[in-house]
Symmetry: C2
Subunit: 342 residues, 2 copies
C-alpha cells in the first residue's frame, strides 16, 4: 500500500511531517506500507537527512514545485497551482500510483484538491470530514466537521450513511448508533435543516438511527456517529479541543495552588493527568478522512507534529485496508431513500 | 425588590425551588429582596413548612392552579393554561407587582410566557437567552443559547447589543469584547447567516466587535460575549456542560486507577478537584436572563437544585439593580444600523 503525504502542508512542515513519516515507516516496515513524500525535493531530502539514516526505509520523494498557503482562496489556488504539493499528492491517488493521500495544510485547499482531483462518489453531493472525538468510553465520529456549510437535509443523510460505514469498518463498532445533532430529543425540535432531515434518516435501511442527540451526548459516549452540518460540527470540534485542554490546565493549576501537601501529592497525580491528556489529545487520533470522494484522503490538523502524522498514516492504512470507499459506493447505490429525494 | 419564582417548574420542584428561595431570603435579608413563590398554595406551603421556620423571612406565596409540563407544546400550553405558575409569575412582572420572574421549568414554555406576557422591547424582534459559561480567566456570555433557531443576521446584531450590555452591567466587564461565533477568523468564512452578519456588526457604535471567534476561544477566555444562533448556542452550551463533567470524571478515574501512592496522593488532590468542579458547575451561575423582553426574566436549568435557584435569585437581583432592560431599550433606540436594515 502506498501513502502520498503532502510534506509541505501544516505549521511544522516539512520537518515534523518528515519525522512522522519516518516513524510510521519504521513501525509498519513489515506491513507493506510505502510512503511517498510530496513537495520540494531539496527541502524534503534535507529534512530526511536531518533525521539520520532513512534510506533503508520504504520512503521516496516525489517533487512538487509549489505550495498553497493558509491564506489563499482554496478553490482558486487549487485551480491555479497545478504543481502544488497537495494537488500532486491527490493526483498520485487519482492515477492509482498511491492508495491514499494525507494533508496537514489548509483544510479548504485539501477539500478543494480532493474534490477536483478525485471527484465525488456517485450519489454523494458533498463530501464530509469525519473527525473522531474521545468520549467517556471510546470514540464518537463527528461529521461533517467542516468541509461544507449550509447543508441540505439530503447531505446530512449522506453523512449518516458514510459515518456509519466509517465507524463500523475502521473503528470496529458493530451496528454503530447514529444520532442527529439537535437541541432536544423530540422529533419536533430543531431548526429547519434538522427538522427536515429527521424523517429521511428514519427511512434508511443500512443506518442504525437512534434519533436526535444533544451536545452532552458526545462526551457521554451514548452515540457512535453524530451527524451535523459542517458549520456546527467545526464549532463543536474546536470547542471540544479547547475545553479539554483548558480544563486539564485548570486541574493542574488548582492542584498547584492548594498548598504543600497537595504539591507533594501532585508529584504522584501529575503522571495520571498526563495519561489522561494523551487520551484527549487529537494527535493520538491522527487524521480525519474526507468521506465521499473517489479515493482515500486524510486531513490532519494544521498544527500536527510528528506523532499526529504517524497516526494519520495508521488511519490511512486502516482506511485503505478496510476498503471504505468501496463500501460507501455500494451502500449509497443500495439505499432507496436517496433516490426518492430531489 | 420583588422576585416572582415559579415554584412548580423544574425536575425538583417544588422542594428544591422552595429551599433555594429560603436560602436566598436569608442571604439577602438586609437588602430588600422579597420573594413571591408562585404555584399550588398547599404544596408550596407544605414544602416551606418542611424546611422549618420560614415565617420571619420575606417570602410570600401566590396561588396558581395549573402547571405546564416539559412535554407540552409551549405556545399552546401558555395560551391555554392562563393560571399556570409560569404564566402567573410573568403576569406579576407585567403588572409591576414584581420586578423579575424566575423559572426552572420547560424553557420553551418560559420563553413563550415571557414573550406573550411581557412583550418585546421596541426594536428587538427575537429575545435571546444569555448564558454565562466559565472560561480560564472568568466568564463568557453566550447568546442566543436556545430561545430561537434560524435567526436572521439582524437578530444576531440585536444579540450582540444585548449581550454587550449584560456583560458590562451585570458581569462588570468594561467594554466587553464581542465576537461572532464562526469556523474561522477571516471575514470571508462561515455560512450565509454569519457571513451576512459580520458587516452589520462592524457598523455598531456601542459594541466592541472583535470579529469572528472559534469554538476554542470560548474556554480560552479571549472573548467576553459570543454571538450565535440559538441552535448553535444550545449545542455549544450542552457540549460544554457535558464535556466538563466527563473530563472531571476521567481525571478522578485515572487518579484512582493508578496505584497505591497515587491513591494516597488523591486524598490531597481530590479537594482541589472539588473546588474546580465548583468553578465549572452551572449551578454556581444560577440562571440565564432572557434578554429583549419588557421586564426581568431569568431562566434556570431544568435540573436546578436549591443552590442554582438561590444563585438565580442573586442574578435576578443584579439584573434588576443594574436596570438592564432600560439600558437595552435606550441603546437599541440609538443604534443607527438597525434602522437601516430591513
Amino acid at each position: 500500500m502506498k501513502v502520498a503525504v503532502d510534506a509541505m502542508g501544516g505549521d511544522y512542515a516539512p520537518d515534523e511531517i518528515v519525522l512522522g513519516a519516518i516513524q510510521a515507516a519504521r513501525e509498519y516496515i513489515n506491513e507493506g506500507v510505502e510512503i511517498v513524500l510530496v513537495g520540494d525535493q531539496v527541502k524534503i531530502t534535507q529534512a530526511l537527512d536531518r533525521q539520520g539514516n532513512w534510506k533503508e526505509l520504504n520512503i521516496t520523494v516525489h517533487h512538487a514545485s509549489e505550495v498553497i498557503d493558509m491564506h489563499e482562496s482554496p478553490g482558486a489556488a487549487v485551480r491555479k497551482k497545478k504543481d502544488a504539493s497537495v494537488v500532486v499528492a491527490t493526483g498520485l491517488v487519482k492515477q492509482g500510483i498511491c492508495d491514499v493521500a494525507i494533508c496537514a495544510g489548509s483544510t479548504g485547499a485539501a477539500v478543494a484538491a480532493a474534490l477536483f482531483g478525485l471527484g465525488r462518489i456517485n450519489g454523494i453531493e458533498r463530501p464530509a470530514i469525519a473527525t473522531p472525538m474521545p468520549n467517556l468510553t471510546g470514540t464518537t465520529v463527528l461529521l461533517d466537521s467542516g468541509a461544507n456549510v449550509d447543508s441540505k437535509p439530503k447531505h446530512l443523510v449522506q453523512n449518516a450513511i458514510m459515518g456509519s460505514i466509517y465507524a463500523e469498518y475502521v473503528l470496529n463498532i458493530p451496528r454503530p448508533r447514529v444520532g442527529l445533532l439537535n437541541i432536544g430529543e423530540e422529533e419536533s425540535k430543531g431548526n429547519e435543516q434538522v427538522f427536515s432531515t429527521y424523517p429521511l434518516l428514519k427511512q434508511l435501511n443500512t443506518v442504525n438511527f437512534i434519533g436526535n442527540v444533544e451536545g452532552r451526548d458526545i462526551p457521554k459516549g451514548t452515540v457512535d456517529v453524530v451527524v451535523c452540518d459542517g458549520f456546527v460540527g467545526n464549532i463543536v470540534l474546536k470547542l471540544g479541543e479547547g475545553l479539554a485542554s483548558a480544563i486539564l490546565q485548570l486541574v493542574k493549576d488548582s492542584i498547584k495552588a492548594s498548598g504543600f501537601w497537595t504539591k507533594m501529592a501532585s508529584m504522584f497525580v501529575l503522571p495520571a493527568l498526563k495519561s489522561l491528556k494523551k487520551k484527549l489529545d487529537y494527535a493520538e487520533y491522527g487524521g480525519a478522512p474526507l468521506l465521499g470522494v473517489n479515493g482515500g484522503f486524510i486531513i490532519c490538523h494544521g498544527s500536527s507534529r510528528a506523532k499526529a502524522i504517524k497516526n494519520a498514516i495508521r488511519v490511512a492504512k486502516e482506511f485503505t485496508e478496510q476498503e471504505v470507499v468501496a463500501h460507501i459506493r455500494e451502500t449509497i447505490a443500495n439505499e432507496g431513500v436517496l433516490n426518492n429525494e430531489e
